[in-house]
């Protein structure tokens, strides 16, 4: 289960001194190297890391050099130890990050993954140099009215599986199946979502880092070329459906709700919602032209 909630009520933690790129940084015991980098103001790119999900360190984008370690270590999951000497920007870390971005870029559609293009430039990644190689390209799965699954965009960060499973929802509709390059996120025997255990909470969409899981509204608008985040507004409110009082962030474009999220940093929901809060917004947009 989620450890952040447990630690927030635990006794004060001792401080640990670590060295990040030559500077001494003091962080609470149990912090990760990534936490220490953040405290130090050092940017480390991440893809499979999620602030509300236990790190699975699968993408290896956040790797750093730690003295006396034979190989690079994932900063998102490795806990700090007193006196640890960390280097975040070396030839080795730059090479690995560049290669992770290239390998992903050459096999996965990253067109809707925020920030990846910027990192590709920063690290000099060139996914085209692999020529015509294997990719995870496949048809989009549209089997319900609420969200689409475009696994051609999936980097297999495991976050949707963890959100659907023990970390948050405990619904277990999806899991990692297959092996190696053929690994896919899948229901049992790849049945369609309406036949699966899915309850359409959309908590998988909330943690997806690439847009592989997407509101049908967003998917349709992107397909029509009308999706434009630059003119969208975000409005925080409280879900009206029940007494829990989950925070909602309504994303609106042209005065129409196009997507609903929930802030990750609220202790009540940690970004999670149910089907009503996530998808039950259509009635707000019944503007009286149908109901008289």
């Amino acid at each position: 289960m989620n450890t952040r909630q447990e630690t927030s009520v635990a006794a004060p933690r001792r401080a640990v001194m670590v060295q990040i790129d030559g500077d001494e940084v003091k962080v609470p015991e149990g912090s990760t190297i990534l936490d220490a980098c953040t405290a130090h103001g050092t940017a480390v790119p991440t893809l499979c890391y999620g602030e509300t999900i236990d790190p699975v360190n699968a993408c290896r984008l956040c790797v750093v050099e730690v003295e006396n370690n034979r190989v690079l270590v994932p900063s998102c999951s490795r806990k700090v130890e007193p006196g640890m000497v960390v280097k975040t920007d070396t030839a080795r870390t730059r090479h690995s990050r560049k290669m992770v971005l290239e390998l992903l870029g050459s096999s996965v559609d990253l067109s809707t993954a925020p920030r990846v293009g910027e990192w590709m430039q920063q690290y000099g990644a060139d996914p085209t140099r692999y020529g015509v190689g294997a990719t995870v390209a496949q048809p989009v799965k549209i089997d319900n009215e609420l969200y689409v699954r475009d696994y051609a965009k999936c980097i297999l960060c495991y976050k949707c599986v963890d959100a659907c499973g023990t970390e948050w929802q405990n619904t277990f509709a999806i899991a990692v199946s297959g092996r190696g390059f053929d690994v896919r996120i899948s229901t049992e025997f790849d049945v369609e979502l309406p036949e699966s255990a899915c309850v359409y909470c959309g908590n998988c969409i909330a943690v997806c880092p690439t847009g592989a899981l997407m509101f049908t509204t967003e998917y349709d608008m992107r397909s029509a070329g009308t999706w434009d985040e630059s003119v969208q507004q975000q409005t925080d409110t409280v879900c009206p459906y029940c007494g829990v009082g989950c925070n909602l962030t309504l994303h609106t474009q042209d005065n129409t709700i196009v997507k609903v999220t929930s802030p990750f940093d609220r202790s009540l929901t940690s970004g999670n919602l149910c089907i009503k809060g996530r998808f039950g917004f259509q009635h707000v947009q019944s503007r009286g032209d149908t109901v008289r």
Partner: protein
């Protein structure tokens, strides 16, 4: 958990198959929810892998109805169980004929004509993975397989027939005719297997005209009835355990430390330090895992021990459990070893029946028992953290270390993981004492070592020599390269190892010797390649192996192994471009530096050494 299960109904056969694995009390969601619910369900999760085996063995595939029934009884989410089933190559999730012939397509068999064999099988029976209707055999299909560990009698095949009971048999030195008979007629038509000791040329007398080194680890192979506990005891069995109990756990660990024994699975970690670390953990219980998932292409030494002297593994595990405070040990044995599995299970049952395992071992006042877990076709499960996930009923995915297994291992408890060969070394250590054991071999490498010599040699097999012998001496023991051929290179350590040139074979086969020479012993693979080898094709097979066996968890390995193979294909069938060599180096570096586990970290070793030491692909 309030799980939703598929609507599909199981067949009677599937229910019966599950009844064998799951006790009658292991049923009914209603019952579980009333009596402990999800907590109890978690205690059953480790039965997932045996249950999948039961379904596969009975009906030849994992059907939606069978999986659903299994999930209801274990309270496991169907999506997760499907994810586990699809992780393992031996589980099939689409309906197939009940008879399958796995034809080895891996490195050693490749040097022994597997390429032509596979082509001929395909010509006769059609494409792999589908019913052999082309040949009028709708009840069978065939598929190429990773290394079956039968390398001394390559090329090899394994035939599995689902049913009640299921049947399995191996085909050695397989010809197209042998495979054809197996596909058409099934296991009963397959010739009987050679005895285990046939894989150990040193047991055949006279061997090497009086120059045979004394066999220590293999001393009983071929001399004892592997299924008889009495015969084992008549040949010195259980003396080591008595010696261990006489000296006490602390002294046992001291002897193991003094012996300077290091792990034989490939990583060469000091065994005594590992034992000490587990013994000192305050958390209880402690678990022991004997890693018998030897799947490194070209490795078959553990198979020979398990088939030829299974009680030695049981005795060694009992000593390890006694010394490190484990009351339960697991043997994780690869799914492709039917005879080793059967011998080991018979031996464990007999030992338990006679009080050599159980609540009071031999009346010596301590408890120890062993469970066998059968793998299902996944090389990665030999990785020491993946093996835990697999035993626990999850996908065999490695995890980051730290924490290390000695602290957080199987079921989250302190766990001692040792390879089969490492463990059986403990028997001579107990009988001779650590210092005497350390005196065998060299100062940096103590004891004897089992080498799996295969490929282009006259007499392939497992050879036991004291550390210090050179590669040349070992190849000479195996009769050298057949007449008319000359040695091109030797692959040391398997697919994760590296090549040495024919002019480098005076390297001493010690940990320090190979380190100085920039190579590795790995799991003891010595695969000789002669001048007839098509090196680029051989390298492509290595790359294909890594692509097939990557668990898929981390990006460097999941995508890197694919890009590595693609670049090799371009380099071998197309023009040889500097661009692709650089690409291989770039991909190799990220796999080595940023993969989660040793699999990805070593996926480029052999190919790099072929380029840099053998001048391949340039």
């Amino acid at each position: 958990m309030d799980l939703r299960f598929p609507q599909a109904e199981p067949t009677l056969s599937e229910v019966q198959a599950l009844d064998v694995v799951l006790a009658p009390s292991t049923v009914a969601e209603g019952w579980q929810r009333q009596h402990g619910g999800a907590h109890r369900a978690r205690e059953l999760r480790h039965l997932l892998l045996p249950s999948l085996h039961a379904l596969q063995a009975r009906v030849g595939w994992i059907s939606p109805g069978g999986l659903g029934e299994l999930c209801r009884r274990l309270d496991v989410p169907p999506a997760e169980a499907y994810g586990v089933a699809t992780f393992y190559a031996m589980f099939i999730t689409e309906q197939r004929p009940t008879r399958v012939v796995h034809v080895c397509a891996d490195l050693v068999c490749h040097t022994r004509g597997a390429g032509a064999l596979l082509d001929a099988v395909e010509a006769e029976f059609g494409a792999p993975d589908q019913a052999c209707d082309q040949a009028g055999v709708g009840t069978a299909f065939w598929k190429p397989s990773p290394c079956l560990g039968l390398c001394e009698r390559a090329p090899a095949a394994l035939i599995v027939e689902a049913g009640d009971p299921a049947h399995e048999a191996v085909i050695s030195m397989a010809t197209v005719a042998d495979i054809s008979v197996a596909v058409r007629q099934g296991t009963h038509a397959v010739a009987a297997e050679a005895p285990p000791e046939a894989a150990v040329p040193q047991t055949v007398s006279p061997f090497g005209a009086g120059t045979t080194p004394e066999l220590v680890l293999l001393a009983r192979v071929g001399k004892v009835d592997p299924l008889s506990l009495d015969d084992f005891r008549a040949h010195g069995g259980y003396l080591a355990l008595r010696a261990a109990v006489a000296m006490g756990p602390t002294a046992v660990i001291r002897e193991v430390t003094d012996s300077q024994l290091v792990g034989r699975g490939g990583a060469a970690f000091p065994a005594g330090r590992k034992w000490q670390a587990v013994a000192g953990q305050p958390a209880r219980p402690h678990y022991l895992v004997c890693n018998a998932d030897e799947s490194e292409p070209g490795t078959f030494k553990d198979r020979v021990i398990l088939e030829g002297d299974p009680y030695s593994v049981i005795e060694a595990m009992t000593i390890a459990g006694y010394a490190t405070g484990c009351e339960l040990g697991f043997v994780y044995i690869r799914g492709e070893y039917p005879r080793a599995l059967s011998h080991l299970q018979i031996a464990i049952d007999a030992a338990r029946h006679r009080g050599f395992l159980g609540p009071d071992v031999m009346g010596l006042g301590f408890a120890f028992d062993i469970q066998v877990v059968r793998g299902a076709g996944a090389y990665i499960c030999g990785e020491e953290t993946a093996i835990f996930a697999s035993i626990e009923g999850y996908r065999g995915e490695p995890r980051s270390k730290p924490p290390y297994p000695v602290e957080v291992g199987l079921f989250g408890k302190p766990t001692l993981v040792n390879n089969v060969e490492t463990l059986v070394n403990v028997l001579p250590i107990m009988l001779r004492g650590g210092p005497a054991f350390a005196a065998i071999g060299t100062t940096g490498s103590s004891g004897t070592k089992l080498f799996c010599v295969s490929g282009s040699v006259k007499t392939a097999g497992v050879y036991e020599v004291p550390f210090g012998a050179t590669l040349r001496e070992l190849l000479d023991m195996a009769g050298g390269v057949p007449a008319g051929r000359s040695l091109r290179a030797v692959l040391l350590g398997g697919a994760a190892g590296s090549f040495v040139r024919a002019d480098e074979i005076d390297v001493a086969l010690t940990f320090e010797g190979v380190r100085a020479a920039g190579t590795t012993l790995g799991s003891g693979v010595v695969l000789a390649l002669d001048d007839s080898v098509d090196l680029p094709t051989f390298l492509r097979r290595i790359a294909a192996f890594f692509r097939d066996e990557s668990c898929g968890q981390c990006v460097p390995c999941r995508v890197g192994t694919v890009r590595q193979e693609e670049a090799l294909v371009r380099l071998t069938v197309g023009s040889r471009q500097a661009h692709d060599i650089q690409l291989l180096r770039d991909v190799g570096e990220v796999m080595r530096d940023a993969s989660i586990c040793g699999f990805g970290q070593s996926a480029w070793n052999a190919i790099e050494s072929a380029i840099d030491r053998l001048g391949a692909l340039t």
